[in-house]
């Protein structure tokens, strides 16, 4: 994907502008909350995608970064810190816990890494559940002035920044290195790509934004159990969104998050667990048949519609060493 066309970038810009304008045009709480959810999931999905999609390290402990971000940000904010500082603290907490989790588990490969991250995230969740069993409720002072709009914009900005970073990353040497590690870690290492460094870079970026997402959550939710953001659901739902949208791409997590939240909302009206069954089936289908998710489906549809007749398509010239 060399040089994204101006048209695509313009399309993105339009989308962002439209979203930015929504609270001014249609300030309905349910709509704003719904879109807030979308933005939160976009950040979670896109951040997971950096480690899981670009670098290929399936991390099942993403909720730990989110949870720590929420925990630290909430405590800081309610403890009197200015909001931006609380957000920074949240992001930092996410990164810190990621390094604590990541550095030992990166020694493990493949499925052992994945279950290792899950195990450590669960350990964290259990510990937090036991040490912080309480509900965190906004004090009256905050409740009086509670407005949805600033939350909306914060979530939007965080999501846009996250996606922007993934875009830049995808076109950078660092990103290329991550992909090399994903494709074949040993080969990458042998050709001079420091696999560990790239994995850690992916981890840090991933955790940073997950932490920010956590802080966003802490800013938005009026009252919740402090251990709730550590639930593995906060890993698995974005995971679903990423794969359905298109893992490893920039736009995939975004599409996936929109799809996931909107379809969930739709189906939840009807039958409660149906949306998860649907997503589960979709997920399986994606893994088996359409690894590129909706993005790949879109590209295939495009090619099908604009394909020249078979006779015109390029044929490689005869036998001989098959090199690309």
């Amino acid at each position: 994907m060399i040089g994204t066309s101006r048209r695509v970038l313009a399309a993105w810009a339009v989308v962002v502008v439209v979203l930015a304008v929504v609270p001014l045009v249609a300030p309905r709480d349910d709509l704003l909350n719904l879109l807030f959810q979308v933005f939160l999931y976009v950040t979670l999905a896109a951040s997971w995608n950096v480690l899981g999609g670009f670098a290929g390290q399936v991390n099942l402990g993403h909720a730990a970064f989110f949870g720590m971000g929420a925990l630290v940000a909430r405590i800081a904010w309610l403890g009197g810190w200015p909001l931006p500082l609380a957000f920074v603290a949240g992001a930092a907490a996410g990164v810190a816990i990621a390094l604590v989790i990541g550095l030992p588990t990166f020694r493990l490969r493949g499925v052992y890494f994945s279950v290792g991250t899950l195990a450590v995230a669960e350990m964290l969740r259990i510990t937090v559940t036991n040490t912080q069993p309480n509900i965190s409720a906004l004090p009256t002072s905050q409740l009086i002035g509670y407005a949805l709009q600033p939350r909306y914009y914060v979530a939007l900005v965080v999501a846009v920044c996250c996606v922007a970073v993934t875009y830049v990353l995808a076109h950078s040497r660092l990103g290329l290195g991550m992909v090399a590690v994903r494709e074949d870690e040993d080969a990458a290492q042998a050709t001079g790509v420091d696999a560990l460094r790239h994995k850690i870079a992916a981890l840090v970026i991933s955790a940073f934004f997950a932490g920010l997402a956590g802080a966003t959550f802490a800013y938005h939710d009026v009252s919740y159990y402090l251990y709730r953001p550590f639930s593995p659901l906060w890993t698995f739902d974005p995971l679903l969104a990423v794969f359905i949208g298109g893992v490893g791409t920039v736009v995939g997590p975004v599409i996936g998050a929109f799809f996931y939240v909107l379809v969930s909302e739709l189906l939840a009206q009807q039958l409660v667990e149906l949306h998860l069954i649907v997503f589960g089936v979709l997920f399986i289908l994606v893994v088996l048949l359409l690894p590129g998710g909706l993005v790949e489906a879109w590209h295939r549809a495009q090619r099908l519609l604009s394909r020249p007749p078979a006779a015109v398509r390029y044929q490689p010239s005869g036998p001989g060493p098959t090199k690309r």
Binding site: L108, A119, E122, L271, L276, G280, I284
Partner: protein
């Protein structure tokens, strides 16, 4: 809570009873993982299916849970056949690393579907089987041994021994072990590796179903136990290492004992779940082949 010798012993026995179930649950996962190198994260949900099967057989038709095993085992075996053919066999066209990663994801999708299907069909309520003899308690000194829990232990032991004999005394069983050790060499001696994978997976699923029945008798079944049991089974598999059925069983017992011991510590009860997780991570980092596995 003061710990008396009696409560200590009772706790240990309880730990062993639970551990036996952990070991049985792990045996199925270990088989699949060892042979196919695939981690089926839906293993716990298959266990859950078996549990529900027994529950409904008991509730609707009065079938004793231990008798229902004769139905649940084969039924889950068939389900395993279907799942392997539909979901995991298509993965063989990928290379090793992609295959393993995708099988993790597929298992996750399957777990999601099974769990939520269960919620839809049977609600999220917990179900348990209380047989007529559940109240009868055998006594060993001051220790209480409820009959149904003893039944669980007996069945778990029998199944483990049966599995061991199958793998060490029959051609098919040895073929499975050979495939687990070196699938290419297995092909070279005429073993149909694809069929071996199919059988191993189906067998693992059947074992999960049997474990599920025992879990429903001893504890309870609900749609959400899947992930918990997958994790428990996985912890035991990593703790014990691959390659030995008895080793896996002992690993399960150790985990059960460990958890029980933790609950004896003041305020330890809520950290019970941590035991397995900590053991898991430590073993992975320090001795990845597990306690009884061969070091590669």
């Amino acid at each position: 809570m003061t710990v008396t010798p009696e409560s200590f012993a009772q706790s240990l026995v309880f730990g062993l009873l639970v551990g036996a179930l952990y070991g049985l649950a792990a045996a199925g996962l270990s088989l699949v993982f060892g042979v196919m190198k695939v981690l089926n994260v839906a293993h716990g949900d298959l266990l859950m299916l078996g549990g529900y099967g027994s529950f409904w057989l008991f509730t609707l038709y009065g079938v004793d849970p231990f008798v229902s095993l004769l139905i649940i085992g084969p039924a889950l075996f068939v389900i395993g056949l279907a799942l392997e053919l539909a979901l995991f066999r298509p993965l063989t066209r990928f290379d090793e690393e992609t295959k393993i990663k995708n099988s993790l994801l597929i298992g996750f999708g399957l777990a999601l579907v099974l769990e939520n299907l269960a919620i839809r069909l049977w609600t999220a309520d917990e179900r348990g089987i209380t047989t007529a003899y559940a109240g009868t308690v055998a006594r060993l000194g001051a220790i209480n041994l409820p009959l149904d829990r003893l039944g669980n232990l007996a069945v778990a032991l029998a199944v483990i021994v049966g599995l061991h004999l199958f793998l060490t005394r029959t051609y098919l069983g040895k073929g499975i072990r050979a495939t687990a050790e070196d699938w290419q060499a297995a092909t070279l001696v005429g073993i149909n590796v694809r069929r071996t994978y199919l059988i191993a997976f189906a067998l693992g699923t059947a074992l999960a179903g049997v474990a599920g029945t025992l879990v429903t008798v001893g504890f309870a079944v609900s749609p959400t136990i899947g992930l918990d049991w997958t994790l428990k089974a996985l912890i035991v598999v990593v703790l014990a290492g691959l390659g030995s059925v008895f080793g896996t069983f002992v690993g399960g017992l150790l985990l059960g004992l460990g958890e029980s011991l933790v609950t004896l510590i003041p305020n330890g009860g809520s950290y019970r779940e941590l035991v397995g997780l900590v053991l898991f991570v430590v073993v992975l980092l320090v001795r990845p082949q597990g306690l009884f596995g061969r070091s590669r």
